[in-house]
Symmetry: C2
DNA sequence: GCCTGTGAAGGATTTCACAGCC
DNA sequence: GGCTGTGAAATCCTTCACAGGC
């Protein structure tokens, strides 16, 4: 039914939602695609087109009601509910993720973390208990987990992804510097600051010394 | 001269480079666009087209010499040299970034970090000295810094970006959850795990309970 | 008068398909 | 025979521009 919605569109919706949440917090009641576009460096036409995939949320002559549009977007994205997350890998990066305060308030609850290192197994990171990696599969069998976060070394990442996928997890946030393979029905996103840096240097490198 | 190269292409090159580095480390001498594409979930035609923006690096009938292509890509991207980086914001996230071992080996040297909190000013994070934010501008005047990393709270991020841009920095890696504005000649990349999570939930949310 | 929603146009990116070379 | 490099075709995405409602 719903004609295929481009992934680029889906990726922009959370940005819109975040801006709307800020506007709501600032007490703004209404915003036009023009004004929202200026806030986000996006053309107004793009915002309107993106939203039109999902319905008609604005009022001609007025714009969008901030609260209404925000709750529509939250519903569309599925961020109007609580999501259960597990974290695999409790090295420095994994610890930072577990103790990072940004997921909880957005509805992503990290239930448990897993690692093979006896130094961390049994500890708690903030409120996140750390279990042994061997217990990952049984944990996933006994608890509903929606999303997996992978923060293990590159060499182990594909194997961890495979275990998560095998246990039925359909969304993975991967911090390991590899291009992990997943089946079509699994969504994966990569967080890779080094790749981001490496694409920026292209633009700032001084023009070639000369023709060679 | 160089006809405009699409940004999507630039963003893929570091991925290719990383895979080639792994292949090189594994002792592979030659790879075809077909085989590289399978490794990376990219079509062979796309790899060939991407590379064709920059030259002719392959041999018909054989494929690409791994070492040669890798060093070409490193040169194209500008990751064949050392880049000087400063970090602004030494909260939990900033500390994790400073102590993260992934940048150094890729040629990104974090020279200094800045924060206003007296608890951290004067300390060292790994090998990174922490200075007071007030000293940021003078530091940037006295030292060549190519890239800024922003890890301050959302409320302060735009102001920090403005200071970096004002000091002549032309590439910024932003970890703050805002859409910072920069002039056209400045490149910015955003690292935002929450946005990544929020775009995945769209795909895993259960089908609507029913028609309403 | 202002601003949305949307077909249609335009532009960008990807894929095809094949000539040419190893 | 295998594989690159590349115009041309196909697809995808963005922007235009305007009818229609507030």
């Amino acid at each position: 039914m719903t004609l295929e919605i481009p992934e680029v569109v889906i990726n922009r919706l959370p940005v819109y939602a975040r801006a709307l949440a800020e506007l709501a917090a600032a007490g703004e009641a209404v915003i036009s695609s023009q004004a929202l576009g200026e806030l986000l460096d996006v053309t107004p036409a793009q915002i309107r087109k993106d939203l039109s995939y999902f319905g008609r949320f604005g009022k001609q002559g007025r714009g969008y009601n901030v609260q209404v549009l925000l709750s529509k977007l939250r519903e569309i994205l599925g961020i109007d509910r609580q999501w259960r997350v597990c974290l695999v890998g409790v090295g420095r990066l994994g610890q930072a993720i577990a103790e990072y305060g940004g997921f909880g308030p957005q509805g992503f609850e990290i239930l448990a973390a897993f690692d093979a290192n006896p130094e961390v197994v049994g500890r708690e990171l903030g409120t996140v208990p750390v279990f042994h990696s061997d217990d990952l599969d049984s944990f996933l069998r006994q608890n509903r987990v929606d999303i997996g976060i992978v923060a293990v070394p590159a060499t182990e990442a594909q194997a961890v992804v495979n275990r998560l996928v095998g246990a039925g997890i359909r969304a993975i946030l991967n911090y390991a510097p590899i291009n992990a393979h997943v089946p079509n029905d699994v969504t994966i996103r990569h967080i890779d600051p080094v790749l981001a840096m490496q694409s920026m240097t292209f633009y700032i490198k001084r023009p070639e010394p000369s023709a060679k």
